[in-house]
Every structure is written in structure tokens, then in C-alpha cells.
């Protein structure tokens, strides 16, 4: 049993994924608020947009860490999401600031439903990966 770099990566990923789970929950709540008319879409987009890049960067960061640790399986599991993030940000509407959400289109039922679904899917993914990282960390710690 030794504290390897891979174990460190898993621990880090565990912590960061916990943060990402909060991000996802925050998004879900925010879109739900939009849907139930509690919030003005301009305000809501202003609060959500700054969170988008940090989330993507965090995810990208531990993907890079796994790459360095040569955890190929874990990296492979994360690649689809990484690719999705890149695609999503490339196809964002014309915006001068960072972020994804455009207050003029966010109230479109399709887009709102899509964003909400995206939030739920990410939450599920992060939750699963949270436990996977936990398992991975212990496995690495035990096996090495």
C-alpha cells in the first residue's frame, strides 16, 4: 500500500467531483426557477454563465491528471463528457462574455428542457463517477 500519484489523482477527482455535483444541482435548481417564473432570465443567465467555464475547466483538469497518471480506463470514461463540453462550448450562441446561456432564447421550451435534461444527466454522471473514483482510489491504494 502506497500513496501513488494515481491515488492522489483519484482523491483530487473525488473532491472536485463533489464540487461538480454542486454545480449540477445549482444548474438544475436555476432552470427550475426559470421554469416556474421565479427568476428573470437575464439575472439567471448572468449567474449561470460565469459557472460554465469553471465547471468545464475543472473537469478538464482532472482528465489531464488521469492522463498523466495513465489511468486509461478512467480517462476513457470521461472522454465523452469532455468531448461534449468542447462541442457545447463551440456551438454556443454569439456572446461577448463567457458562458452558454442567452437570456433571449433560454425561455424557449425546447432549450429550457434541454438544459434541464443536461443538468440531470450530468448530475447522474457525476454521482456515478464520484463512487467510481472512491472505488478507484481505494483500489489503487490497496493494490499498490
Amino acid at each position: 500500500m502506497a500513496f501513488t500519484f494515481a491515488a492522489f489523482c483519484y482523491m483530487l477527482a473525488l473532491l472536485l467531483t463533489a464540487a461538480l455535483i454542486f454545480f449540477a444541482i445549482w444548474h438544475i435548481i436555476a432552470f427550475d426557477e426559470l421554469k416556474t417564473d421565479y427568476k428573470n432570465p437575464i439575472d439567471q443567465c448572468n449567474t449561470l454563465n460565469p459557472l460554465v467555464l469553471p465547471e468545464y475547466l475543472i473537469h478538464m483538469f482532472f482528465c489531464v491528471m488521469f492522463l498523466c497518471a495513465a489511468e486509461w480506463l478512467t480517462l476513457g470514461l470521461n472522454m465523452p463528457l469532455l468531448a461534449y463540453h468542447v462541442w457545447r462550448y463551440m456551438s454556443r450562441p454569439v456572446m461577448s462574455g463567457p458562458g452558454l446561456y442567452d437570456p433571449t432564447t433560454i425561455m424557449n421550451a425546447d432549450i429550457l428542457a434541454f438544459c434541464q435534461k443536461e443538468g440531470w444527466c450530468k448530475l447522474a454522471f457525476y454521482l456515478l463517477s464520484f463512487f467510481y473514483y472512491l472505488y478507484g482510489m481505494i483500489y489503487v491504494l490497496v493494490s499498490s
Binding site: L34, N40, V94, S96, D102, T104, N108, A109, W120
Partner: protein, 1199 residues
């Protein structure tokens, strides 16, 4: 059918997939909260009343004890409204209250009279029936009970008269007790006791009189003082005769509808009265018609609704201002002062004045406007009886189930005579749920309608598919009374006039579900001033004609089904000045009304009208010469700018710098302040740039006179539009208002700079078009900021070069502005364009305007709004923020069905527009549309409104082409046709396998879609400038339906041989109505002249061999060759041909707000391409002809 493409494309269009997307993760949010209410609420509501019930029912005697209370209530009512009255007034009011009762009593009395046997003990029946007869009149559907009464109507009226005559029974007056619940009304029934003895005589009375009397009562000559009862009787009688005729007409209506319901009615009648001794029903001579009696039951109330009808039709449909104003003295007048006056009148008025006031205007207007419509008096043998029938009568069947079940059990008061009791109880019963009612109503007339609109049409064989007369919007399949009060299709239209029950059914039909709105269009409508605006407490729906009144005191929301209380104030009807008739208030009789809102509806004091003009004065602009035209127009219309004494106006010009104009009152001439720091714009002086128009009018005029010459020699070619807009935003943000921007080129300096993105070589590319979206979000963000400060930016683009309208338009799109585009404007070289600009400006400057507006669209629980189309900012799921609203903008809304509508058969939509008028009044304009819900696919097809569908599809396709690609959008459009026709075929509703079959309701669908595909916005392969394309898209999204349809599918007429055949006669003028021709060159002949009406543009195409007579008489030219190439108007010549054509042209123009430009096109002229591009049925190099398109569709369907 191509499976893969099929689904994808549909998704692109959105509507097919809505259900799945929403269904998964998103819970239905809209109506959620409302659901909980109904269950709890009714219980409490019903619980209370029963207590009253027994007491009242018990007997007449107890009533007397209660009566005093009633009086008090009544007195209170008046005292509340008329604080001015001295305490003595209380005493005075008491008599007045008597008068009132008369109005209410009549219904009850009829019952007595009706039953001859009853004469012995007439008291009871009268009492019982009365309570519900009132409501029944209005909501015929709900009250099955009253059938027996129906026959009696005539009699009842008489009895009422007698009552009046007999002061002996002061108690009688109580019935008026409007404040009381249903049960309260029972007390009124006691009053009949007095009449009881009278009943005998009643029978004798000729029906004519009786009706007359009843009428007067119906009108609710409220206050007629009891002091002179005898006189009242006479007065009413005379009035009645007028009204009687009216009744007759209304009856006719009913009779027509009756047949559908006969079965139900019979069943019902037998049931309800089964327990009753036969004598009660039969005895009357009047009764002969077994089926009819049911309707007649309501007779007294029935005619009452009739009155309101006239009112409705006048104000809403026919929009004759007279009608609106006359009947509703109070309602139409917005000022509170008038209200006070009215109240005074009520209090002090003698009977005669009040009655005349209420009754006279109505019949007059009715006869003049509606007289012709009801011509069926002969249908029923005894006209007198029939006259009474309530228009709503046929709705009863719905009630029956409840009625039957509940009636027996509910009878708490066995004491009542045998036959009375059942009827009475029915009344007391909670009325059947909305859904039940609607269920009964929904499918009533379905068979006839569906037959025609479902008639299969083989498109490939139908050569002349276009009907020669303009296509009228399909009529929703509703009962006549609902139909009559329904919102005008010009204002509110739904793509499917039969709403499918479930999303699954909607998906099966493959048709989009949505609304098309023109909420602020110019029309005269009833204006209501009221302290309390009655709205549903849970969903905030405004009370409307489609709510149901459970009784006098409660109404059930038609959107969320919550039961609400009727506030006291609502019990008073300002139109008839009667009390206790909430169902006759203008809100209930009109589906389009306007409220004067109280301060509850203001976030801040109403803003003054504020106008800021931002003018491009760069070299390019001066060269084009628009400045002169603009200044002239504004000078001419300065006094007509909508506004009051607070109106403010300001000017701002820009080239590479920004120029402000100090117009402070007291200056000898306008001061120009130049700000050259465009990177950080600031306002040079705080409050003298946006000045009061009234105070500074001279300075403004000076400025407008000087402006055109000020920049004539400018060499500045740059344009700092972005900074100028920022300055305008800063200038306007304290007040809000309208910013009109005139721009002539691409912005080249400061924030919001744009580059040319168009590649002229790609204009006719078939591979899709780029740059349909904005290049920067600067203008969008600015627009959102503006919207937040209640500023709307209207954009006038007068540019002959590419100006990136796709980016610039955002500033108007999201701030609820409007966009005008004059692509080849030049004051000398293009006079047609100049004239158009001038006329547009004239309209633009003087048209009505609403400030700081919001529009909310509510719909029946189960439906939800999917997407909005138009110029606005969507602030929440059902709320649009409109900084300004103008009468020329239309909106489209896509809907989805989130929950099954199986438990209702009527779906309602309500659009409420809250705005500040230019006079600083906060107003709410409410439109309500009611449509039936159907469960059959064939019904959905039968109700398809092809024009609305086309418009909605156009909006969806434009969204699609911006968010995805033009090719996608075009495919989606094609698939929309293919899918819907395939769905129709799959439905098995046609037996002919060959050919391309469409239901008659959709027979124009392929044609319209083909036309859409050939529009500038969506066409490919034909050279189209990017700005033209984008402007066309903006137009589609922001114009009302009729305008879009004219753009998509112009009307083509042959006009060289106008005849008076089928001509329209309006007043003194005869407007020729040439048949519409199909848009194909095949219809053009060389020896003819043709007029094409494209909405904004009229083309007059003159064939080479056109008769010289026509050319001389109409065009004023000696022969064909001498017609000038750029002729833009028709000379006013004194001969019949010319006059006919000019009447026709002005008739075409009068319905539209912006004056269209006219081009006379010669056959060989180069300008003819503009004309020929609209011949959408013809083949072009890159697009199908209509026949080819049909074949293509057929091919797609078989794939």
C-alpha cells in the same frame, strides 16, 4: 416515407417532439398550483349555503323576516357607491330596491303563471324557480331545471307587472338581493307570494305585453322607484314592445340550434319533472311544443342575454364605436367622474329615466347592426312563447346528468309542493363542472362542419384549387352563443380550431399547435372602469365570457377551474344599470375588453409619452436625402404624435460624433452639443435634451426646419451607431419610451462596429446561407438593457448597401421595436420608395402606442406555451416584456399539450396586455379565445386553419434557419406538408388510394408551403441580398397574420374589366370584387391588366395588348408605349373605369395600416421580375412549379 429524415426534420420543426421532451424531465409547471384549489374550495362554498336554503325554502313567512336584511344590503350597496347620499338616502334606496326586485322577480313569476294549476298556490313555485332562472338565462347549460318555466315566460312578465302594481307586498322587492348567494335569491322568491293571486290574470294577458314587460325587467331598470309602481308597469310595457322584437330575433337563434338538443331536452324534462304532477307541465296552452319548453324555460332570462349580445356584437365584432358608447355609458367612459355621475343617476333617478336609459340604446343598436342576422321567427308556431327563449337554452343537456342525480337527494325542503321542489333543488345544486358542460357543448355541431372541411380533395386533379373569394378563417365548432362572444379571428387565431385532447393525438395529426395574435390592433372595444378587476385568485385569469357562474356569488375559472367569489361591485351592471346580474357585465359579454387599471398594476407612476429620434447624418445619409422627408413628415405630424401635455421629445444625430440638441424652453434657437468621445459616451446636460413637446414646440420646429440643411456639405462617412444608441439609452432610461433610429449604412465606429459579411457571389447559392444570425451580441445586450428600462428601439434602415441587418435588427427584436427597411431609398431616383417612406412615417408617427407593456398568455390547464415568436423579450414562461406595443405588430405562440384535456371539452386562451396609454393611463386589454377539444383525429383535421398553420410554420422555419440552417428549415417545411397529408391518409378517412389526397381544410396547405419556400426569406437558388432575406424574416416574425398571408400568397385580380357583378356595396360606394386568380403566368393574358396585392406593395401589370381604352381611361396615357416606366400612382380621371379601380384600390388599402406602394409594371419592363417572382405556382430555375411540388410530395409520401 423517408423514415430517418422524417423524424429528424420534424424535430427541427419542434412540434412533433414537444411532448417527449417536456414530458421526460420537466414536470408541468404552469397550472400545477391551481389544481389543488377546486377540491377544497367548492366544499366550503357549498357548505355555507345550505343553511340559508332550508330557511328560505321553508316558506314565504320566514322570508319576511329576512327581507329587512336584504334591504339593508341593498341600501349598503348604494351607500357604498354613493357616499354623497345623505342618510335619508337609505330610506330612499329602500323604494328603489323595490324597483329592482321587479327586475329580478319576473323570472320567478313566469313560473307561476305558466302553471295554471299553480295559480292556486303560485307562491311556492315562483319563489323556487326564481333563484335559478336568473343564472339559467345566462348559463343555460347549467340549469336544466327550468324547462317547465320556459313556457310561462310571457305570463311571468305579466305577473311582475302586477306585482309592481300591488304595493301591498313590499317584500317582493327583495328578490333583487344580489349580494345573497343562490340561496339568498330564494328570498326573492318569496316575493312571488304577492303575485300569487295575480297569476290568474297573468294567463289572460296577451303574450306581447308579457314579453315586453319581461324585457324591461331583464334590462334591469334597476332603480325605478317603487314609489310609482303602476307607472313603472306601463313604462316597462312600452319599452318591452321594442325589446320584444329583439327577443323574437334571439329566439330564432335558439330555434335553429334547438334540433341538436331535442333529445337531450326531452330526456331531461321527463326526468326532472317526473315526480311532478302532470298538471304542472301540461296545463298551459302555451306548451304545445314539448321540445321547446326547455328553452323557453329561460325565456325571461333568455331575452336578457339577447340584449347583451347586441352590445357585444356592436362593440366587438362590428366595432362600430357608436354601439360601444351608447349602451355602456359608464363602461365606455373611462373617467371615474362619469362613474360618479352614473351612480348619482341611479340613486336619484325616477323609474322612467332609468328604464329608458338602459333599454332604449340597446334595441336600437341591435336592430341596426344585427337585425338581419336572426330571421327565423316563423320556425316556432307561437312566437310569443318563443320570444322568451334563452339563447343559451340548448346547452341544458350537459346539465342533466348532474341534475338527475343530485336533484332527488338534494331536496332538503320537502315542504315545498311536489313539483316545485325538484326544480328548485336543481338550482341549488352545484352546477355541473365546466368539463361536463363543455363536453356537452363541444361536439354539438360537429357533424356538419366536419363533413365539409374533411371532404377529401385530390390535389393533383384539382386544377383551380384557389377559391375565388378570400378564404375565411374556419369557425370553431362551438355552440352559437359561445361562437358569438368568441374573440375575433383577426385578433386571436389558433392553428387548430379543434384542440386535440392529448399530445399523442396532436403528434398523430402532424400539425403544429399554436396561436397567432394581433393583440393591439386598432379597434373599438368596451372600456371598463372598475375599482376591482375580477380575476381568478389562483391563476389570475381575468373574468371572461367563458367562465361559469355557479350561482350569483361564485364563478368558476375556465382556465384553472378554481371557484372564485364574485365581488359586490361586480354585481352591478353598468350597462343596464341593474344589480344582481354579474353575467351581463360587459366583461362577460365581450371576449375583448379593456380595463382601466388601478395603481395595483403600476410599478411606477405611468410614464409620459417620450420619443427620441436618432438620425444618421453621415455623408451617405445626406446623399440619400431621407432627412428632408423625415423632417417634413415630423413637422406635419408633430401635433398628432400620441401623447398628452407631458409628452417629451428629443433629437440626436450622429456621424463619427454624436450631436445632442438642447431644446430647453426659453432658448432662442436649438443648441447643438457635440460629443466626440464615442468610446465613453456621456450626456452633456441632464434634462434639456429630452424636452416637453408642448413647451418647446417652437424650438422643435426650428430644429426640424434647420436639420436638413445643417449637414448638406458633410464629408463625414463614418457612422457611430453603437455609441449613439448607448447615448440614446442613457438619455431615455429615466423615463422609458420610444427611440426611432434612422440608419443608412454599416456602423463603422465605436462599439457595435460591424463588418460586411455578405459575399455577393453566394447570393444565389443553393447550399444554404450563412450569416443569418447576428455578428455581435452588442445590439442584443443593448436591447435587453433598453427593454429593462422600458425603451423600445425602432429601426429604419435606408441603405442601398449591405448593412448587416441580421445584427442591427437585434436592437429592435428584443426591445419590442419594429423594423423598417427601404433597400433602395433615394429621394430623387426612387420616388416610389420615397413615397412609401413618407406614408409609413405618417402612420408610424401617428399610430397608437402603448408604453411599458407586458403581455401574458394564459391557457387552460394542460396546455402550455412552448415558444414565442415576435419582437419582445420573454421574461418568463408566459410573460412577454414589451417596452412599447404598437398596433401593427403580431405575435405567434407555439403550444404544447402537457396533460390530457380529456376531462374538458373547451380549451381557452387568454392574452392580457397591460400597457400605459399615451395619455398616461394604465390599461389592460384582454382577449379570450375559446375552442372545443376533440378526441378524433378527423376532427383535428377538420378544424385546421391553414393560414394560421402557414404563418406559424413560417415562424418556426425562420427560427430553424437561424439556429440551424436554411436547408434544414426548408426540409422541415416540406416535411410538415408530407407528414400531415400522410397522417390524413393513414387516418383512413379517404377511400381513394390514388392521387394526393388532402382534407378540404388543408387543400391550400401545399400551395402555401410552396409559396413559403419561394419567399425571399427561405428561397435558395435565386439571387437574394442578405439584408432583403433577413428583413423578410423579421417581417414574418413580427407581422400579423393577414399581412404575412398576403406576403406569402398575394392576391391577383384582373382589373381591366371590372364589373359590378358580386360587387360589395358599402354605404354609397360600390366596390367591385374581381375573383382572385391563381398565381401563375397562365392566368395572365396579354390583353389584360392585373393587380397583385402583396400587402406592402401593389403591382399593376399591364399586358402588351391591353386595350387602349383601359390605358387611356385608367392610366391616363394615350397608348401602351407611352406608359412611363416607373409609374407609381393611378391618376384621378373622371370616368367610370378609373373610378371603379380607384374605389377598389382604396378599399384594399383601408384595411391595412401602412399604405402600400403601387408599381405599374409593363410587360417588358425590367421591373417585371419583382412581379413575376410572386407567381409562386410557376416553375423557376431553382424551384418547383405547384404541380411538380405536388408530385414531389407524393413521392415523399410513398417513400
Amino acid at each position: 416515407m423517408s423514415a430517418p429524415g422524417y423524424t429528424n426534420l420534424n424535430t427541427s420543426v419542434n412540434y412533433s417532439l414537444n411532448a417527449t421532451q417536456n414530458g421526460g424531465s420537466a414536470p408541468p409547471y404552469q397550472n400545477g398550483p391551481a389544481q389543488s384549489y377546486p377540491s377544497t374550495y367548492p366544499a366550503s362554498g357549498y357548505g355555507a349555503p345550505p343553511q340559508h336554503y332550508p330557511s328560505s325554502t321553508g316558506h314565504c313567512v320566514p322570508a319576511s323576516s329576512k327581507t329587512p336584511i336584504m334591504n339593508n344590503d341593498y341600501a349598503n350597496y348604494y351607500s357604498q357607491h354613493q357616499p354623497l347620499l345623505p342618510p335619508a338616502a337609505g330610506a330612499v334606496t329602500a323604494p328603489s330596491s323595490y324597483g329592482v326586485p321587479q327586475g329580478s322577480l319576473p323570472p320567478s313569476q313566469p313560473y307561476n303563471t305558466a302553471n295554471p294549476p299553480a295559480s292556486g298556490a303560485p307562491l311556492y313555485p315562483a319563489a323556487y324557480q326564481h333563484p335559478y332562472t336568473m343564472p339559467s338565462a345566462y348559463y343555460g347549460q347549467q340549469y336544466p331545471v327550468s324547462q317547465a318555466q320556459s313556457q310561462q315566460p310571457n305570463l311571468m312578465a305579466v305577473s311582475s307587472g302586477t306585482n309592481n302594481g300591488a304595493p301591498l307586498y313590499p317584500i317582493v322587492s327583495y328578490p333583487s338581493a344580489p349580494g345573497s348567494s343562490q340561496y339568498g335569491t330564494l328570498r326573492s322568491s318569496q316575493a312571488p307570494m304577492g303575485p300569487g293571486p295575480v297569476s290568474g290574470p297573468n294567463v289572460i294577458v296577451p303574450p306581447g305585453q308579457a314579453t315586453g314587460q319581461s324585457m324591461s325587467m331583464g334590462n334591469g331598470p334597476i332603480p325605478p322607484s317603487s314609489a310609482t309602481p303602476a307607472h313603472q308597469g306601463y313604462g316597462t310595457a312600452t319599452l318591452c314592445q321594442q325589446s320584444a322584437t329583439v327577443n323574437g330575433q334571439t329566439n330564432a337563434l335558439q330555434t335553429q340550434t334547438m334540433p341538436h338538443y331535442d333529445q337531450n331536452l326531452h330526456g331531461h324534462m321527463t326526468y326532472s319533472y317526473g315526480g311532478v304532477p302532470p298538471t304542472t307541465q301540461g296545463p298551459d296552452g302555451d306548451r304545445p311544443l314539448s321540445g321547446t319548453p326547455a328553452t323557453s324555460v329561460h325565456s325571461s332570462p333568455g331575452h336578457q342575454p339577447g340584449l347583451p349580445y347586441r352590445y357585444v356584437t356592436n362593440s366587438g365584432v362590428s366595432s362600430a364605436p357608436v354601439a360601444a358608447t351608447t349602451p355602456a355609458g359608464q363602461s365606455s367612459s373611462s373617467s371615474e367622474d362619469e362613474d360618479d355621475e352614473d351612480e348619482d343617476e341611479e340613486a336619484g333617478a325616477d323609474s322612467s329615466s332609468s328604464t329608458t336609459g338602459s333599454a332604449s340604446p340597446v334595441p336600437n343598436s341591435y336592430e341596426s347592426l344585427e337585425g338581419g342576422s336572426y330571421t327565423d321567427p316563423a320556425s316556432i308556431p307561437p312566437p310569443g312563447d318563443l320570444s322568451r327563449q334563452a339563447p343559451f337554452g340548448y346547452s341544458y343537456p350537459a346539465m342533466q346528468p348532474n341534475y338527475i342525480q343530485t336533484a332527488p337527494r338534494s331536496n332538503p325542503a320537502p315542504s315545498a309542493t311536489g313539483y316545485h321542489a325538484p326544480g328548485y333543488q336543481d338550482m341549488s345544486q352545484p352546477f355541473p363542472s365546466m368539463s361536463q358542460l363543455s363536453a356537452a357543448l363541444g361536439g354539438l355541431s360537429a357533424p356538419e362542419l366536419t363533413v365539409d372541411s374533411l371532404r377529401p380533395v385530390n390535389l393533383l386533379q384539382e386544377r383551380n384549387i384557389l377559391p375565388p373569394t378570400p378564404t375565411a378563417p374556419p369557425e370553431p365548432n362551438l355552440s352559437t352563443d359561445l361562437k358569438n362572444v368568441n374573440c375575433s379571428p383577426d385578433t386571436f387565431r389558433c392553428t387548430l380550431t379543434n384542440i386535440p385532447q392529448t399530445q399523442a393525438l396532436l403528434n398523430k395529426a402532424r400539425l403544429p399547435l399554436g396561436l397567432l395574435l394581433h393583440p393591439f390592433r386598432d379597434l373599438s372595444l368596451p372600456v371598463i372602469t372598475s375599482n376591482t378587476i375580477v380575476r381568478c385568485r389562483s391563476c389570475r385569469t381575468y373574468i371572461n365570457p367563458f367562465v361559469s357562474f355557479l350561482d350569483q356569488r361564485r364563478w368558476k375559472c375556465n382556465l384553472c377551474y378554481r371557484v372564485n367569489d364574485v365581488p359586490d361591485e361586480f354585481m352591478y351592471n353598468p350597462v343596464t344599470r341593474s344589480y344582481g346580474e354579474p353575467h351581463k357585465r360587459p366583461e362577460i359579454l365581450n371576449s375583448t375588453v379593456e380595463f382601466i387599471a388601478s395603481s395595483d398594476y403600476m410599478l411606477r407612476p405611468p410614464q409620459p409619452a417620450a420619443y427620441l429620434f436618432v438620425l444618421d447624418v453621415s455623408h451617405n445619409a445626406v446623399e440619400g436625402g431621407y432627412l428632408n422627408v423625415f423632417c417634413q413628415s415630423l413637422l406635419e405630424n408633430l401635433d398628432k404624435l400620441p401623447g398628452d401635455t407631458r409628452s417629451r421629445v428629443g433629437f440626436l444625430t450622429f456621424d463619427s460624433t454624436i450631436h445632442f440638441y438642447n431644446l430647453q424652453e426659453g432658448l432662442s434657437q436649438p443648441q447643438m452639443l457635440v460629443v466626440s468621445d464615442i468610446d465613453d459616451v456621456f450626456i452633456p446636460t441632464a434634462d434639456s435634451l429630452l424636452v416637453n413637446l408642448k413647451e418647446s414646440k417652437e424650438l422643435v420646429k426650428d430644429l426640424l426646419n434647420a436639420l436638413p440643411s445643417m449637414f448638406t456639405h458633410t464629408q463625414e462617412t463614418h457612422s457611430a451607431l453603437g455609441p449613439a444608441l448607448q447615448a440614446a439609452y442613457k438619455l431615455m432610461s429615466p423615463t422609458g419610451g420610444r427611440v426611432s433610429v434612422f440608419q443608412t449604412q454599416l456602423p463603422t465606429l465605436g462599439a457595435g462596429t460591424l463588418q460586411s459579411r455578405e459575399d455577393p457571389n453566394q447570393r444565389s447559392s443553393t447550399k444554404g446561407v450563412k450569416h443569418l444570425g447576428p455578428a455581435t451580441d452588442f445590439y442584443k445586450k443593448l436591447a435587453l438593457d433598453c427593454s429593462g428600462q422600458q425603451i423600445a428601439v425602432d429601426l429604419f434602415l435606408l441603405s442601398s448597401q449591405y448593412s448587416d441587418l441580421a445584427s442591427l435588427a437585434c436592437v429592435s427584436k428584443y426591445s419590442a421595436g419594429s423594423i423598417f427597411y427601404y433597400p433602395t431609398f433615394h429621394h430623387v431616383h426612387n420616388p416610389a420608395q420615397r413615397d412609401k417612406f413618407q406614408k409609413d412615417l405618417q402612420r408610424y408617427l401617428t399610430r397608437k402606442i402603448g408604453f411599458e407593456a407586458v403581455m401574458r398568455i394564459r391557457c387552460t390547464k394542460g396546455l402550455s406555451i412552448h415558444t414565442f415568436h415576435g419582437n419582445f423579450f420573454v421574461r418568463s414562461t408566459d410573460l412577454l416584456s414589451l417596452a412599447n406595443v404598437n398596433p401593427d405588430s403580431g405575435f405567434a405562440v407555439q403550444m404544447s399539450i402537457e396533460e390530457s384535456l380529456a376531462d374538458t371539452s373547451l380549451a381557452c386562451f387568454q392574452a392580457a396586455l397591460l400597457y400605459t396609454s399615451s395619455k398616461g393611463k394604465r390599461r389592460i386589454r384582454v382577449h379570450t379565445l375559446c375552442l372545443p377539444v376533440v378526441s378524433q383525429l378527423s376532427d383535428v383535421f377538420a378544424g385546421a386553419d391553414v393560414q394560421a398553420i402557414t404563418c406559424l410554420l413560417a415562424n418556426m422555419a425562420i427560427d430553424r434557419s437561424i439556429s440551424s440552417s436554411l436547408t434544414d428549415a426548408r426540409d422541415a417545411l416540406l416535411n410538415a406538408v408530407v407528414d400531415s397529408l400522410a397522417a390524413y391518409r393513414a387516418n383512413g378517412s379517404n377511400l381513394q388510394p390514388a392521387g394526393l389526397i388532402a382534407p378540404a381544410s388543408l387543400q391550400l396547405f401545399p400551395l402555401y408551403v410552396l409559396a413559403l419556400l419561394k419567399q425571399k426569406a427561405l428561397r435558395t437558388g435565386t439571387s437574394t441580398r442578405l439584408d432583403d432575406r433577413v428583413f423578410n424574416m423579421c417581417d414574418f416574425k413580427s407581422q400579423p397574420l393577414w399581412h404575412v398571408m398576403r406576403m406569402v400568397h398575394p392576391d391577383l385580380y384582373r382589373i381591366d374589366s371590372l364589373s359590378e357583378q358580386r360587387a360589395l356595396r358599402l354605404n354609397d360606394t360600390v366596390v367591385p370584387q374581381p375573383p382572385r386568380l391563381q398565381l401563375t403566368a397562365e392566368k395572365l393574358t396579354r390583353d389584360g391588366a392585373f393587380l397583385m396585392d402583396c400587402g406592402n406593395v401593389l403591382y399593376l401589370w399591364v399586358g402588351k395588348c391591353c386595350s387602349e381604352m383601359f390605358i387611356q381611361d385608367v392610366l391616363g396615357c394615350p397608348n401602351y408605349a407611352s406608359i412611363p416606366p416607373n409609374m407609381t400612382q393611378i391618376p384621378e380621371l373622371e370616368n367610370p373605369d378609373s373610378e371603379q379601380l380607384r374605389t377598389f384600390l382604396s378599399w384594399l388599402q383601408e384595411t391595412r395600416s401602412f399604405c402600400p406602394a403601387l408599381y405599374v409594371v409593363k410587360d417588358e419592363a425590367s421591373a417585371k421580375s419583382g412581379f413575376f417572382q410572386h407567381l409562386v405556382e410557376d416553375r423557376t430555375e431553382s424551384a418547383f412549379s405547384y404541380y411538380e411540388f405536388l408530385l414531389h410530395i407524393q413521392q415523399q409520401m410513398t417513400k
